[in-house]
Amino acid sequence: MEQKTVKDNDVLLQIRNLNVTYKTRFGPVSAVEDISFDIKRGEILGLVGESGSGKSTMGKALMRMLPRSAKVTGEMIFDGEDVMKYNEDQLRDFRGKRISMIFQDPMTSLNPVQRISDHVVEAIEVHEPETKKESALKRARTLIERLGIARRRLPDFPHQLSGGMRQRVMIGLGLVLNADLIIADEATTSLDVIVEAKLVDQFRQIRDEFGVSLLVITHNIALVAELCDRVAVMYAGQIAEIGPVEQVFDNPLHPYTKGLLKSVPNIRLDEREELYKMAGEPPSLTNPPSGCRFHPRCPFVMDICHRIDPRLDEVAPGRMVHCWLYEDHPEKETPTIEVAQ
């Protein structure tokens, strides 16, 4: 992939060759390996993968929130500046003002003894010390109402709100400082389907109204189809495939994506009645397979896959895949598949 770090107005965040390695008792674990992708302004990008695929580590790396035991290398160019070079003060401003994160369990993100209004006001006061309390409160009120929570709930404590409302408060905390990117890490996972569906509508609405970009980290493939513009599929710490949602779902290129999409249950009765059963389970990252990390489970495995890891290559405009089927190599015997647009 071409290394392009010039300021591009459509691109909000460029991630280049990001590596995250944890030091553990069992040796180094490479949780994220050589990942490069872009997040565009105003887009909803889905980052999907199974447990242990590195998707949450990826989200935390973007926030520069990983523990010291994690070694992070690579570049993260956010709006023209390399976040990897920020000091602690710059980072504090960056988190909150530019980028904000929502987790699976809002109860652990909200302070149980602090009122909803105080959460929002505090966020404004910390990042904009010049703002008066009165106008901060007014801003909090307007925003909370726009997110569909009644004004009278502002003095409530987190435990008095429902799960869906708490997640909306978390979204509000991200929006109140006009962040450019909101990372939602399994933000709808513990919610019931109807509440989840409403939050999905809310995500779309804030994107349209505020023009924020959203990075939706999830294991729920159907949710990605419902909500996202583009999708990046992760497997064992690497990106298997990236592309526009319609194209990836209509014509998946990576054998892992192909299998994954066929194994997702579909509620529609007219859809296929048999689920595809993928062989094996995701590998351990302490001792990942040689070559392509998917090769032990791949139905299309070739000789080269055992030895050499392919690159994430653009095979058609906007579509990138990490697979030898679509890439040439002198040691490869089978012909490379051309992807038609």
């Binding site: 989840e196 159907a222 389970e281």
Partner: protein, 339 residues
């Protein structure tokens, strides 16, 4: 208390009539002394259904709908506040603790989290053997062979290898297989599967579902399949019941309920499930509000505050579960319009 004859006969294995389970809310000593009335969480509030021998009956609903409480009552783990539960024409309320214990050989359970279900200090083989030790103590000589055979049947090979492992040494999917093996070792007739595959990854889920379907045939099992995931339910259930706030709002064959949901809540629930196809995104509006408090449920139809079709009647009168087409029941005053 009624007896076990409503749906009796060979084909009914479990018959639940007007089941209620209310949990008292513990209050402080002062309010107890002052004689204030005790509040109850009405987790299950008058639910009736039956499970036929050899079928997979699904119970679906959101959190707090009472689905897991019903499951626990069916196994006799929870004593109902009201109503009867019959297993193979035996009324669970009318037998002794010892008889209930023996009856449990015929009904087993699989929970969501296999790591929480397994003793971390017990080897796999030993864990599976527990049921045999309790229910067949006189056949101790055969225990090991039976366990080895069962480990193999749930797809863990070589079985001798897994027999010696501890739960932390195997993967999540394999652990759930161990839990299934442990449930099947006593040769039960009914398996309560409470969100059995909710924790597994997508690529592992299909395999577990397939295993459950295969074992059902092999051992002539009947499943009570409890889930919040309607998409997964589609692949295993024969009939399904939809719960809302402790009430059954709709029951029927899976095809009839999914194809033609007759209750507005079922309609919303089915529409809310995301479909893995970006060309078929949801257009239907979601019902307003969230699930109300089960301590003080709404009057009349419990769904009326959120229902787009609600009228004055829905506020006042609670709808009964009515048969609207053969085998398809719904509890809505206005269900006819959806036929």
């Amino acid at each position: 208390m009624s007896n076990c004859n409503e749906h009796s006969g060979m084909e009914t294995l479990v018959d639940v009539q007007n089941l209620k389970k209310w949990f008292p809310i513990q209050k402080g000593i002062l309010s107890a002394l002052s004689g204030r009335k005790i509040d109850y969480v009405r987790a299950v509030d008058g639910v009736s259904f039956h499970i036929r021998r050899g079928e997979v009956f699904g119970l679906a609903g959101e959190s707090g709908s009472g689905k897991s409480t019903i499951g626990r009552c069916v196994l006799g783990l929870e004593k109902p506040t009201e109503g009867t539960i019959c297993f193979d024409e035996i009324n669970l309320a009318k037998i002794s603790a010892e008889e209930l214990r023996r009856l449990r050989r015929r009904m087993q359970v699989i929970y969501q989290d296999p790591l929480a279900s397994l003793n971390p200090r017990m080897r796999i083989g030993e864990a599976i053997m527990q049921g045999l030790k309790i229910h067949y103590p006189d056949r101790a000589a055969e225990h090991r062979d039976l366990v080895i055979d069962m480990i193999q049947r749930v797809g863990l090979t070589p079985p001798q290898f897994y027999y010696e492992k501890f739960p932390h040494q195997i993967s999540g999917g394999q652990r759930q297989r161990v839990v299934i093996a442990r449930a099947l070792i006593t040769r039960p007739e009914l398996i309560l599967a409470d969100e059995p595959i909710a924790m597994a990854d997508v690529s592992v889920r299909a395999l577990l579902l397939d295993l459950m379907i295969q074992l059902k045939k092999e051992f002539n099992l009947t499943y009570l399949f409890i889930t919040h995931d309607l998409a997964t339910a589609k692949y295993i259930c024969d009939r399904i019941g939809i719960l809302y706030l402790g009430k059954m709002v709709e029951v029927g064959s899976l095809e009839s309920v999914y194809q033609k949901p007759l209750h507005p809540y079922t309609q919303a629930l089915l529409a809310a499930v995301p479909v893995p196809d970006p060309h078929k995104r949801r257009k239907k509006e979601m019902p307003r509000g969230e699930i109300p408090n089960p301590i003080n449920p709404p009057s009349g139809c419990r769904f009326h505050p959120r229902c787009p079709f609600a009228t004055e009647l829905c506020k006042q009168e609670e709808p009964e579960l009515r048969e609207l087409e053969p085998g398809h029941f719904a509890a809505c005053h206005y269900a006819e319009q959806f036929l």
